[in-house]
Amino acid sequence: MKSRFNVWYVIPLLAFGGLATFMGLGLSHDPHEVPSPFIGKPAPDFRLPKLEGDGTFGPADYRGKVWLLNVWASWCVSCREEHPVLLKYSRLNQVPLVGLDYKDQADDGRKWVDQYGNPYTLTVMDVDGRVGIDYGVYGVPETYVIDKNGTIRYKQIGPITEEVLQKTLMPMIAELQK
């Protein structure tokens, strides 16, 4: 019997390899991470009442500063997971961390920061969620890095982990502050 290498026998193997590659990529890709159209665009303006104390806050107040906007809520369970990292961040004396208490009641929000600690420079109340929509928020927590010109440079979807803080946020903040 003649033993001859037939190229056609390799095709199913190649097809399987291709399919497996695409499926593998599909598995490692989280469909819940929707790329934000805001990267490189100006942070939408707002003016909202503060959670603690009187007065209001808007992005215009931090013109010329690098700052973080962290969307959280007292009803959000994964915010609790993120919270120790934020508390640690607040002790590093870095750029301001503004909380956006999203679709929440002021009483519940205050109770939450009293109970778990307050890492925020200040927090504003977005009771009806309209500012959240303007920022394209579709889940909590989310965190935006805003530069000196008021441009959104980065969006963290989901909790900030120790790794995200050290490897992504801190170098980026240092770079933007130059």
């Binding site: 019997m1 003649k2 989280d30 469909p31 819940h32 991470e33 929707v34 790329p35 934000s36 159209p37 009803w75 959000c76 369970v77 994964s78 997971e81 679709k103 009806d128 969620g129 309209r130 929509i133 303007d134 920022y135 394209g136 579709y138 889940g139 909590v140 927590p141 979807i157 989901g158 909790p159």
Partner: protein
């Protein structure tokens, strides 16, 4: 995969709603007429038309028109406001895309980043048909078997076939 959340109708709420319904049936409470869907049916129809072509970002396989997620309700409220303000359908779509990107649209626009999405299947189809044609042209002819029959075997075959007919 990160665990993220959005307020949704929880099991408890569904249970309570069911309980309430059951009580209502049992107690034969005089039912009221259902409230109309919205004050303005024209606005509501336009809302549905727009929202049917949009993805709910919380339950990604549901349309914005059909989703019960809290965010979907908020977004429908925003779209309703926009329509009342006299915005065109295109302007409302642009409003949504500006916030959530092309991902919210079930029919993304044709542009360089979506070419693969729109034309990829047709290119694959053309390739497959081409490959099939090539395959049929070249392979339909039976190859000589690896060990051809010896002259004696051929004669034997022909004799057998003659006997049959």
């Amino acid at each position: 995969m990160t665990f993220r959340e959005y307020r949704s109708t929880g099991l408890l709420n569904q249970f309570l709603a069911g309980l309430l319904l059951w009580t209502a049936v049992v107690m034969l409470v005089q039912a009221e007429d259902a409230k109309p869907l919205a004050e303005d049916p024209v606005v509501e129809q336009r809302l549905i038309n727009i929202a049917q072509d949009m993805r709910c970002l919380v339950c990604q396989n549901e349309s914005l028109a059909g989703s019960h997620a809290d965010l979907a309700e908020d977004l429908r409220r925003e779209i309703r406001d926009q329509i009342r303000k006299g915005k065109t359908d295109q302007e409302v779509t642009d409003y949504m895309v500006a916030r959530y990107g092309d991902f919210v649209r079930y029919r993304p626009p044709i542009k360089p980043t979506t070419w693969a999405l729109w034309f990829g299947p047709f290119i694959l189809l053309v390739c497959a048909v081409g490959l099939l044609g090539w395959f049929l042209r070249h392979k339909v002819v039976q190859r000589e078997p690896d060990s051809p029959l010896s002259p004696e075997q051929k004669l034997q075959v022909e004799a057998l076939l003659r006997d049959k007919s």
